[in-house]
């Protein structure tokens, strides 16, 4: 049942910091976030951490646990052995504010750069008609809880600060794909995906899909189809073969 676990938690701020070791009680059925809360209540009252729902629905408590990007509320302690030291660090891709809290404003800036849903001008509220099968594709992407783990793990920006300017990351490329697949959206979003949001940077290593706590197939269902549609109008080394094939077929 209960045991004492060894935790290494990164403590510090933008100036720098280091790991601190804690020995802390663990009970049956607990998750990493419970242990962080116990540390706050008993040993480190000023340990900074973001959290809200504790049920994997709000996407606030993202961190790296033993190097793996995860939601702390969904990381069950039973997946570790009692003698294992558990290391908790803030997300690496974003600047640290304090302890486990990072500055994720990059994501809000990028969100604002994606042109909003543009319905047909003459369509009145209440008159929208869409088939379930047609909304389901975008609905999958709207399951996103904006935990930004996909952004955190994406190697295009994880260790390349310089790419942040021209690359919006999997979360917002998926948002473009979502709008592109919306049955009633009127904008052509292919050009902007490539030109303004850096779709070409993505070389489909699927790291984003692997860490998604909502199990959204970001790469297969959002990014690759978007690349394919861009390839129809534009050259992309990844898809030149595919587009050639398609041209042959239509000819």
């Amino acid at each position: 049942m209960g045991y004492d676990a060894k935790f290494r938690v990164w403590r510090g701020d933008a100036e720098g910091g280091d790991f601190q070791n804690y020995t802390v009680e663990v009970n049956e059925g607990e998750v990493v976030l419970d242990i962080i809360h116990r540390l706050q209540a008993t040993q480190a009252p000023d340990l900074a951490v973001r959290w809200n729902c504790k049920a994997g629905k709000c996407g606030s408590c993202s961190a790296e646990i033993n190097g793996r990007p995860k939601l702390m509320c969904m990381a069950r302690m039973s997946t570790f052995t009692p003698d294992e030291t558990i290391t908790v660090t803030p997300m690496r891709t974003f600047p640290v504010i304090r302890d486990l809290v990072t500055d994720v404003s990059y994501n809000y800036t990028k969100a604002r750069q994606v042109p909003s849903f543009a319905p047909p001008a003459n369509l009145k509220p209440g008159d929208y008609r869409m088939a379930q099968v047609d909304v389901e594709r975008s609905q999958e992407f709207r399951k996103c809880i904006e935990c930004f783990l996909c952004q955190n793990v994406c190697h295009v920006i994880r260790d390349h600060e310089e790419n942040k300017e021209s690359y919006s990351g999997p979360r917002f490329l998926m948002r473009i794909s979502e709008l592109d697949m919306h049955p009633l959206d009127t904008l052509d979003r292919k050009e902007m995906a490539q030109e303004d949001h850096g779709l070409g940077f993505c070389n489909i290593t699927k790291c984003c899909t692997e860490v998604c706590p909502e199990h959204i197939k970001i790469t297969d269902n959002a990014l690759i189809p978007l690349k394919e549609r861009v390839a129809d109008v534009k050259y992309d080394p990844m898809f030149s073969v595919a587009s050639l094939f398609r041209r042959n077929k239509t000819n």
Partner: protein
């Protein structure tokens, strides 16, 4: 004193859940320079937790549905204690508010003919809830968030600055409302990130801060639900109504301990899930109260037929309003027929094919699999009541959401009256939208009416708010805010919980007095930069004040109705239906007083929607005699 960052707006909205965002969208669209202030990151509000759907009588699935039926269901659910005017506006306007979301980009589940699909829910006569699987709250938040972004894009095109007319201040906590004489002049708060103070000069403040669940030990609510708006309003001189009514959602997770209280959506029951005790018996058939007896099935066969043929069968008793189901589960557990972890069994695995369960209830499947290692397509869930929603809140004008204090508005869970003594599932998300919009309109009209004569923020009020906020750093006798919080939660849970008795509520009030004294001695370590101990110390004051409102009102109301069950006064008393309990504080005092106030009598055309037989269950003989003769 040191220079404090200041911002000036026409309207500030405190809270960025569904109500706050809808209010901000309206205020900005009506030409107000608007700021949204939220304790968390933008898009993380507790609204994301709402699962089931948005109640709106669009009649897409059953064309018999209309606003009158929705209104009657709402009044019935609230046991006729609702503000009838709010219930009327809500039922009439909810469909437009839902359709509007589609123009913002929302993607609801569809009917076969391509319209918005609607699902069954407890207390609603027809399938009425617009939904997206079981993650409707997330869809609502994301849709409103994206609408805000689109308004900011508009402003950027026109002015070059996306935040010219609508700006989000994330991770900022407001600790005090500021006043000039009787009227609101702004708000004082701090950035959670840096601990720096910030002052907002604004003639209109819309409170949209949500509920108070964090005063209870077992709750579905997140850390933000510390009753801030309730307490801010009281300290500013406004009143609270219906505070004794707390909804315990019947189905929260009971295992593992760390997730105890987290919600299991009512859709599980709407889609066929049934409740069983440890004897395997569907016990809800034994708990149908008289007022609902002719609306619910008497046998399992009839109840089961209802899912496919609702026209010719009565609905299963698992779909009674939440207060009834929560009390029934409580009774079964107390009688020793509970599950191993102290709840009852909620089973959908024997009712629907596994594939269907995963399609209809994806988040529930996911939640149980990942948090409890339970496969709901193969085994039953264990569930029990959890503190979910406070019906009570700031007393407001139904049409404009204005509180008693000029310039103060309240909307969503922090407002009171709409849901009476018990809220129906699905009526919360629609409440947020209907009254969010109305608050935006109301605040705009108020600010417009002020002209150039705007209230101003005084230096003294800033100094006093600042020293109050810093008090926890100066204390020498150390009280730990975390321990105090745990004691408060235990006390409220045990003594002012789902079943109440005079002596226990009195014991809670005694405990609250000692906690209030100790709260003044709370000390925090570290500095002001992102310091959760300090944040909790400041929230604690609000939780204590709101808990006292709940306990005092609960002690005074000597009957059982909706979200208030008195073991020593079982049953509804028609005399008490005519009474609202109003909480206030006097000036700087921290003692809550409660007064009785008569309910406004319902407009005759609305009253005529109910038959006399039904009204006789709720009204006094005197009221019944005064009713016009019924047409035969």
């Amino acid at each position: 004193m040191t220079e404090i960052e200041r911002h000036s707006y026409d309207v500030i909205v405190i809270g960025a859940g569904g109500a706050g965002l809808r209010a901000a969208i309206e205020a900005r669209s009506q030409g107000m320079r608007t700021a949204i202030i939220c304790k968390s990151l933008f898009g993380k509000a507790h609204t994301v937790m709402a699962e089931g759907g948005i109640a709106a009588a669009m009649g897409n699935v059953n064309s018999k549905d209309n606003w009158e039926v929705h209104f009657c269901d709402t009044m019935r659910g609230g046991k006729f204690l609702n503000s009838w005017r709010m219930a009327e506006l809500h039922a009439k306007e909810a469909p437009d508010r839902v359709w509007e979301l589609e123009t913002y980009g929302a993607l609801f589940d569809r009917t076969a003919d391509g319209r918005i699909s609607q699902r069954n829910f407890g207390g609603h006569e027809y399938p009425r809830l617009a939904h997206v699987g079981d993650r409707t709250g997330l869809e609502l938040i994301r849709t409103l968030q994206q609408k805000i972004v689109s308004l900011q894009q508009e402003d950027e095109r026109e002015t070059g600055d996306p935040e010219a007319n609508l700006k989000v201040f994330a991770e900022v906590t407001i600790t005090e409302l500021l006043k000039d004489g009787d009227a609101i002049s702004g708000a004082f708060g701090y950035y959670r990130e840096s601990g720096r103070f910030v002052v907002f000069d604004a003639p209109a403040v819309i409170l949209a801060t949500g509920g108070i669940g964090k005063s209870f030990k077992v709750t579905s609510n997140s850390w933000e639900y510390t009753g801030d708006g309730h307490a801010l309003a009281m300290r500013a001189g406004a009143t609270l109504v219906n505070m004794e009514f707390i909804q315990f959602h019947p189905t929260g997770m009971v295992w593992p301990p760390s997730v105890k209280g987290i919600l299991v959506t009512e859709s599980v029951r709407g889609d066929g899930g049934v409740l069983r005790n440890s004897d395997g018996k569907r016990f809800m058939f034994n708990y149908v109260p008289d007022v609902f007896r002719d609306k619910y099935a008497k046998t399992e066969d009839e109840a089961d037929r209802w899912y496919t043929d609702p026209e010719h069968n009565l609905r299963p008793p698992e779909l009674l309003p939440r207060d009834e189901v929560a009390r029934a589960i409580n009774s079964e557990v107390k009688a020793g027929r509970g599950s191993p972890a102290g709840g009852v069994f909620l089973d959908v695995s024997t009712r629907l094919p596994a594939e269907e369960i995963r399609r209809r209830l994806p988040s529930m499947y996911h939640q149980f699999k990942e948090l409890a290692d339970v496969d709901i397509t193969a085994q039953p869930m264990e569930v029990g009541p959890t503190c979910h929603y406070v019906m009570g809140g700031v007393e407001v004008d139904p049409d404009t959401a204005a509180a008693k204090v000029p310039g103060l508005f309240a909307v969503g869970e922090v407002s009171g009256g709409m849901h009476g003594s018990n809220r129906l599932g699905g009526n919360s998300l629609s409440d947020l939208l209907v009254f969010g919009r109305r608050a935006g309109v109301g605040a705009t009209a108020y600010v417009g009416g002020l002209g150039a004569k705007r209230p101003t923020v005084s230096d003294e009020s800033i100094d006093s708010a600042a020293s109050e906020a810093l008090a926890p750093f100066k204390s020498e006798v150390a009280e730990n805010p975390y321990s105090l919080h745990m004691e408060l939660q235990q006390s409220m849970n045990d003594l002012v919980g789902i079943i109440r008795r005079a002596d226990e509520v009195q014991a809670a009030l005694d405990k609250l007095e000692t906690l209030k004294a100790r709260e003044k001695l709370v000390a925090v370590e570290g500095h002001r930069q992102f310091n959760p101990g300090w944040h909790l110390a400041l929230d604690l004051k609000n939780m204590l004040m709101v808990s006292e409102c709940v306990a005092r009102a609960a002690l005074m109301r000597e009957e059982s109705r909706g979200g208030h069950t008195r073991d020593d006064f079982p049953g509804m008393n028609p005399e008490w239906r005519k009474v609202n309990l109003i909480c206030s504080i006097d000036g700087d005092s921290d003692t809550v007083s409660v007064e009785k106030q008569p309910l406004a009598s319902m407009r005759p055309d609305l009253l005529a929607l109910f038959d006399r037989h039904e009204l006789s269950k709720y009204m006094t003989d005197e009221e019944l005699t005064a009713l016009p003769e019924e047409d035969s």
